[in-house]
């Protein structure tokens, strides 16, 4: 390969090393691409035929070869620059982020508030925004457990599922309204969070991750198998839609009911329901953020962060680690429960399919990629991981490829997460001894 093209050059010459490295990468790419891209099955009615696409394999191999060379050269230069000025770049970026934040955050909230009335916003856009906001809420909920308290939870989707099923079952069985079910679902999820918390309190890091992973699967398996209550794999359909303070969003309301559009003298449009749902989740998301920011400044929030930093030191300062961890689990779970009930009412149909491990992984990826403990980071990471794949549906074939590449790139360039700057919760004026 590389040696053959350049005879006589010594082994350790940088050019040879570069070509050799790229050659190995290309060889791996070839081996992977041959079965993955080289063959395609075509379903022609009765028989399945194989189609060969060896030109794709060739393109991939050549692409990886040159891509690897470019990457190595770029990375070498970036590494040299970094070693010259350690830390300065990161700090500068954090400062820029801070200044932008003061302007960007209100702008972002304003944009979110008027989104449904913007000219380009149609049913699809509003629905997509709703979908993204659910993940923002889940990300913020998990951020309390993982980002602030430092407890690696791989089964967060369990609380999402509990919220969804609580709402579906309570609403269908007892006819409770969405607004009554919401706090109930939250309480139930929080309760299960505590129930999970008790046995795992002594565990940390990897061990905790394994147990929570198991918990998430247990909940899913229960949902699949407890047929009489959860409907098993068929799920629950016909979950009641939310109403606008008792006014349903339908074209033909039941006897004695007034529909939303009749009450406000509007023409019926299914869009109304989507806009309403959007505002509900937006309100939930804003409440989640407000509560989290408030908690961070309260003793319990500081205790979470301190616990993440050093458990032994916390003990010696009179913090009860048991209670502190349980509150983190419970509050994180509660927000997951809220998001779950909203998901149920939005979909109108839920099944265990929606609560698989990959959901937990995506939510965790949102928290980690955004920068542990960073609220704004969660939003940015959600746009990255949820919105982008939805928008790029045409490239669905390459979705996982891009997803993986993005993850690798972020871990190389910003291993702390996209917005990892941690703002202190207490600040003093110059020269004063006062705080709070």
């Amino acid at each position: 390969m590389a040696e053959a093209t350049l005879p006589g050059v010594r082994e350790d010459s940088p050019l040879v090393a570069l070509l050799k490295d790229a050659g190995i990468a290309a060889a791996i790419a070839f081996l992977l691409a041959l079965p993955l891209m080289g063959f395609q099955t075509l379903d022609s009615g009765t028989t399945v035929e194989l189609q060969y696409r060896f030109h794709w394999v060739a393109i991939a191999t050549v692409g990886v070869f040159f891509g690897r060379i470019v990457f190595t050269l770029l990375y070498r230069r970036a590494g040299a620059a970094r070693s010259k000025a350690p830390g300065i770049v990161g700090q500068g970026m954090a400062r820029v982020g801070e200044g932008l934040g003061r302007f960007l955050v209100p702008a972002f909230i304003l944009f979110a508030l008027i989104l449904p009335f913007l000219p380009f916003a149609d049913r699809r856009e509003i629905d997509l925004a709703t979908y993204v906001l659910i993940y923002v809420m889940l990300g913020w909920g998990l951020n309390i457990v993982v980002g602030l308290a430092g407890l690696l939870d791989l089964g967060y989707v369990a609380f999402y599922a509990i919220g969804a099923y609580s709402y579906a079952l309570l609403a269908k069985t007892f006819g409770f309204s969405f607004w009554l079910c919401l706090p109930l679902a939250g309480i139930l999820a929080a309760f299960l969070g505590i129930l999970l918390g008790f046995p795992v309190l002594r565990l940390r890091g990897d061990y905790l991750a394994i147990v929570t992973l198991g918990f998430g699967e247990i909940i899913r398996v229960i949902l699949v198998n407890w047929q009489p209550v959860t409907g098993g794999p068929n799920g629950i359909s016909g979950v009641p839609r939310p109403t606008f303070f008792g006014l349903p969003f339908t074209n033909d309301p039941a006897e004695g009911e007034t529909a939303f559009h009749e009450f406000f003298n509007l023409d019926f449009a299914s869009l109304h329901r989507f806009i309403f749902l959007y505002y509900v989740i937006l309100a939930l998301v804003l409440v989640t953020n407000a509560v989290t920011l408030r908690l961070r400044k309260m003793p319990i929030g500081r205790a979470w962060e301190a616990l993440r930093e050093d458990e032994i030191a916390c003990r010696s300062l009179g913090i009860n680690p048991t209670n502190t961890k349980l509150t983190a689990f419970a509050i994180g779970a509660m927000f997951g429960g809220f998001a779950g009930s909203f998901f149920a009412t939005r979909q109108g149909f839920i099944s265990p399919e929606s609560f698989t491990f990959i959901e937990s992984a995506v939510i965790l990826a949102i928290v980690v990629l955004g920068g542990m403990g960073s609220q704004a980071g969660v939003v940015v990471a959600t746009l990255f991981l949820v919105l982008l794949p939805e928008l790029a549906r045409e490239f669905a074939q390459f979705r996982m490829l891009i997803f993986g590449a993005a993850m690798v790139l972020i871990m190389v360039w910003r291993p702390q997460g996209l917005l990892a700057h941690r703002a202190p919760t207490v600040s003093l004026g110059p020269g004063s001894g006062g705080a709070r």
Binding site: A306, D310, I312, A313, L317, R422, T425, L428
Partner: protein
């Protein structure tokens, strides 16, 4: 004020403390010296109930605290600056101090903060800096300051001189004396730096293999040939 009688502590099946008797009277600075692995830190941790003594009794102001959970012991007025400082590196100096105070009510926070900043002026200059970016000496000061924020009556210090330059060690020990004299905090100090510790302390204990082998006033122990041979030769004279 603090009385340990016949305390045995185990790590699994390994006996780290083999029947320790020790007292600390109100207003004293008592130091505990000994070689690596003698059980000094274990003794300090046992007072805080982590790990708990398997046999024997720990009494604080007449109260049996042997079986109490750590966070309750701390609330009785015992504060600990643990071995290796263990400040919260990602949190600011002020947040670290707040962590020290918050389980005892934040009512006196501003007042206590002023007091702490008079004791450690450098912390005032560094108040919004992250704990992890402080120098070793500053981190040690922060660890002591954080422990003091809970207004303890008994302060347990585990090797405050660990890994610090001689000049900084001197400064830290000076501050410990000040805390003891001006703020009337009783101090139990665990040290490897026997010379400084014995000069500072009213009384001292020597711990060897989990047993107290000697005790006496700081000056007595400093003059004792055995102590000199074991802990002072080659160091300060």
């Amino acid at each position: 004020m603090l009385r340990l009688s016949g305390v045995h502590t185990f790590y699994g099946r390994i006996e780290a403390l083999r029947g320790v008797d020790l007292t600390v009277e109100e207003g004293e600075i008592v130091t505990l010296i000994g070689a690596n692995g003698a059980g000094k830190s274990t003794l300090l941790m046992t007072i805080c109930g982590n790990p708990r003594a398997r046999r024997g009794e720990v009494r604080f102001e007449g109260r049996d605290i042997t079986q109490m959970p750590t966070h309750d012991i701390v609330k009785l007025g015992i504060a600990q600056s643990p071995e290796g400082r263990r400040i919260f590196p990602r949190m600011s100096v002020i947040e670290n101090l707040k962590m020290g105070a918050q389980n005892f009510g934040l009512a006196h926070f501003d007042e206590d903060l002023d007091r702490i900043f008079r004791l450690f002026p450098i912390l005032k200059d560094r108040q919004s800096q992250r704990g992890g970016t402080l120098s070793g000496g500053q981190q040690q000061m922060l660890a002591i300051a954080r422990a003091l924020m809970s207004r303890p009556r008994l302060l347990l210090l585990d090797e405050p001189s660990l890994g610090l330059a001689p000049l900084v060690v001197k400064q830290i020990f000076e501050t410990i004396r000040e805390i003891n004299q001006r703020q009337r905090v009783t101090v139990l100090l665990v040290e490897q730096n026997a010379y400084h510790a014995l000069r500072l302390a009213h009384r001292g204990y020597v711990l060897v293999n989990g047993r107290i082998s000697m005790s006496g006033s700081g000056a007595e122990l400093l003059a004792n040939p055995e102590v000199r041979a074991a802990y002072l030769e080659g160091g300060h004279v």
